[in-house]
């Protein structure tokens, strides 16, 4: 084979196998679960409670990275009329770079195909069980143009070839009491599973959303401390003596009152 032809072949192979230029960006707080960003052209599945917030966070991550000249950072949202635009803006999304198609009806594959060529991320809630032909066509288009397909809704699990699944675990809203306060944020553990997060997957504790509407890493829950008189310390309980020899004035609460993940932890801070 002539050398020039070989070089051409090598170049075309290189071109075909190399992933498109750069990863699709995610919010800073999501980097522990999606290191480096989303793989262009891949499909991401969201389900379970909290899928809507995760969708907003992914859209915000893409949208906030666009340039001022309109290059990049566009997101298409198909079939999600209840998309919380204000919440997305709170997480950092630019509303003017969102394209909403609230009611695509049965033309949703055509709508997604049109958007996949132009935007970096399409959030799709399929209104019906996706057919194999539509999935093949849209996956191929997404790969070709480096667009991330994010699936949500009841049929998200039926989409074959999803490389990354995100869900929320151990959620707890904070700020609301019994007739007073207001919602200030939610502690949640984001779990990433699938081929792009091999093994047991990746986990991160986040405020999703935080008190100002953003997404922020959450500090691990520390066992609450309680002030006790020295006499109340049980025999045999681990007591750290102070430098001057006097017994400690605090002790950790009993283990069952703590978060199970940290019950075996350090004890006294």
């Amino acid at each position: 084979m002539p050398e020039a032809a070989l070089r051409d072949l090598a170049r075309s192979l290189e071109h075909a196998s190399a992933p498109p230029a750069r990863a699709v960006p995610v919010l800073h707080a999501l980097r522990p679960v999606v290191p480096g960003g989303l793989r262009p052209g891949s499909a991401v599945g969201l389900d379970g409670p909290g899928a809507a917030s995760l969708a907003l966070a992914l859209v915000a991550g893409v949208s906030r990275h666009g340039g001022a000249d309109g290059e990049g950072g566009w997101c298409g949202i198909v079939g999600v009329p209840s998309f919380g635009v204000v919440a997305a803006a709170g997480m950092g999304a630019e509303p003017e770079r969102l394209l909403l198609v609230d009611d695509p009806g049965d033309r949703w594959p055509d709508v997604v195909a049109a958007l996949a060529e132009a935007v970096e991320l399409v959030l799709l809630c399929p209104p019906e069980r996706p057919g194999a032909a539509a999935v093949r066509r849209l996956s191929a288009l997404a790969r070709k143009h480096g667009c991330v397909l994010t699936l949500t809704g009841p049929f998200a699990r039926d989409w074959p070839g999803v490389r990354l699944r995100l869900r929320l675990d151990a959620v707890a809203w904070e700020g609301v009491g019994d007739g007073h306060g207001r919602l200030r944020g939610r502690r949640a553990r984001v779990v990433a599973e699938g081929r792009d997060a091999p093994g047991r997957g990746r986990r991160a504790d986040l405020w999703l959303p935080a008190a100002d509407g953003g997404v922020r890493p959450a500090e691990p829950v520390r066992p609450p401390l309680e002030i006790v008189p020295p006499a109340a310390v049980r025999d045999g309980a681990p007591v750290h003596t102070r430098r001057d020899g006097a017994p400690a004035a605090v002790r950790a609460l009993p283990a069952q009152a703590m978060d199970p993940a940290h019950a075996g932890g350090k004890g006294i801070a």
Binding site: G84, V85, V101, V111, W173, V176, R186, D212
Partner: protein, 519 residues
């Protein structure tokens, strides 16, 4: 000098909102009187007054929001009546139109005869008006407002006619204020100033005002002559069977039309779309638009027009798509043979923002994708959100179809009782019903004084009960209480259930709804 006949309908903004001259009424814009009826003026209501002051002087004042669309629409009746007598009517603004008087005056036997005839015709059409003839539009307008139903100012007498008027009629408050401090209080005194000095001191605009005051014309009357030249037309051979073909052609025509308008420094606020069919039928519709019609918007209007035609026919099986009709149905009219777009109401292009996409410029790729989706689903199917003011999570977002300008007058201001961050992630379009029960299984009731009957214990959404672990509220929202038709009185709650879900509930008239979910 051209002789101009002006037809002036008094207090047109008030007439347009359905208040007659005998009733004390006013049209308001942002809490200030934009126009008031004669009866209200007799009570001391003035233009520019605060609504509160006006209502103090005239407690029975009928107040309506100003509706510029209605003004333009209703004025068409007046213009049509005048056009019966003399063609080429120039609409100066809704409420004032003008024709060149010389020809018609000769035809109808004198200027006074023409003036009375025009006035009678418009009054017969159902609108009170004054008509006046003078040299130039400015003097003609004042002549129409003078006396009982207008006067004829003889040729060359404009300067003398204008002399006693105060400077406020020039509609240049800053100039009038400055001149008043210089001791110049009437148009006559202003006209006596040497024109070179006026131009040197007050610039172009001052020189223009000076020309007006001297009874000279700032510009000749400009009837809508350019319309015929700027209209664009496409023929279909063979006749277009599908609306899609016509819509595509319309988009191209609209681009041509815009290029022609831009070259003339004009923009068009009303567009006439004509479609001709093979058997000679012609569909003609006028479309009005607030801003400049983008080519996509024009194409969409052509689509509406064609689908309206299909809906209007007594055809047996009209499909809901309304567009792709079977060939045998098309045979009734034989398909579209030509399409013409004619700009009908031209205004000088005041330099509107050219980027139709708001702040962020749009790339060709995005525009192409949006184009395809609009071709599939219609103009309004793909939108861009714009954040606006409002209290509830759904009220804070306005969805603007891609290609349209965002609405200019978005509500702004402090929103006491606005929901605080974080905002809910799921905002359903139609709030689903919910039930909030207390420990005894009775519905939780919120009294008029915002007292909660019992702490909520269980929430039922879609039939599934969940125990309430935390709740807060009520946060009352009493909106538009001054308008009985639009008034809404709600109380909002945030509720967290045992499943870890958080809801924004609203109770209105005793019914609970899930306004949004903090998913």
């Amino acid at each position: 000098m051209t002789r101009v006949l002006a037809v002036w309908c008094p207090d047109w903004p008030v007439t347009a909102v359905g208040v007659d001259a005998g009733t004390a009424g006013a049209a308001v814009v942002q809490g200030r009187i934009a126009a008031c009826s004669a009866a209200a003026r007799a009570e001391g209501v003035r233009r520019g007054q605060k609504l509160r002051d006006a209502q103090r002087r005239c407690p029975g004042l009928v107040v309506r929001e100003r509706d510029t669309d209605a003004e333009g629409r209703l004025f068409e009746a007046v213009v049509e009546a005048v056009a019966e007598l003399a063609p080429r009517v120039e609409v100066v603004r809704p409420g004032l139109c003008a024709i060149a008087a010389r020809g018609p005056a000769r035809f109808y036997g004198g200027e006074e005869a023409l003036r009375v005839l025009v006035q009678d015709t418009v009054v017969e059409a159902g609108h009170d008006c004054g008509s006046g003839i003078a040299d130039g539009l400015f003097a003609a307008e004042l002549a129409a407002r003078a006396g009982q139903g207008g006067v004829v100012v003889p040729e060359g007498g404009a300067a003398a006619f204008l002399a006693p008027y105060p400077l406020s009629v020039l509609d240049r408050p800053e100039l009038a204020d400055l001149l008043a401090r210089l001791g110049v209080r009437t148009l006559g005194a202003f006209a006596d100033l040497p024109s070179g000095h006026v131009a040197g001191r007050f610039g172009t605009d001052g020189a223009l005002a000076h020309r007006l005051a001297r009874g000279e014309e700032p510009r000749p009357i400009a009837p809508v002559r350019a319309a015929a030249d700027l209209s664009v037309r496409a023929a279909f051979d063979p006749p277009a069977e599908h609306a899609e073909q016509v819509v595509f052609a319309a988009k191209r025509l609209a681009d041509e039309l815009h290029a022609g308008l831009a070259a003339g420094g004009l923009s068009c606020v009303r567009l006439e779309v004509e479609a001709g069919f093979a058997d000679g039928h012609v569909l003609r519709r006028l479309w009005r638009h607030d801003g400049r019609l983008s080519s996509l918007a024009v194409a969409e209007r052509v689509r509406w027009q064609l689908s309206a035609w299909r809906d209007g026919r007594p055809a047996a099986g009209t499909d809901p798509e309304g567009i792709e009709a079977p060939a045998e149905e098309e045979a009734v009219w034989g398909g579209v043979t030509w399409l013409e777009l004619a700009p009908d109401q031209l205004v000088p292009d005041g330099g509107r923002q050219e980027a139709l996409w708001g702040r962020t410029a749009v790339t060709d790729r995005i525009a192409r994708a949006a184009d395809r989706i609009q071709g599939l689903l219609g103009h309004g199917a793909i939108t861009r959100p714009v954040l606006a003011g409002g209290r509830g999570p759904g009220e804070q977002v306005v969805r603007v179809p891609v290609g349209d300008l965002p609405p200019a007058n978005l509500p702004d201001g402090p929103w006491p009782g606005r929901l605080t961050a974080p905002a809910p992630a799921v905002v359903p379009v139609a709030a689903p019903e919910a039930r909030l029960l207390d420990a005894d299984g009775e519905p939780v009731v919120v009294s008029a004084r915002c007292a909660v009957s019992a702490p909520p214990a269980a929430l039922l959404v879609g039939g599934r009960p969940a125990a309430v672990t935390g709740w807060t509220g009520p946060w009352p929202a009493d909106e538009r209480w001054w308008d009985p038709e639009k008034a809404r009185r709600r109380a909002r709650f945030q509720v967290v259930t045992e499943t870890g879900a958080a809801y924004l509930l609203a109770v209105e008239h005793g019914h609970w709804h899930v306004e949004a979910t903090y998913d």
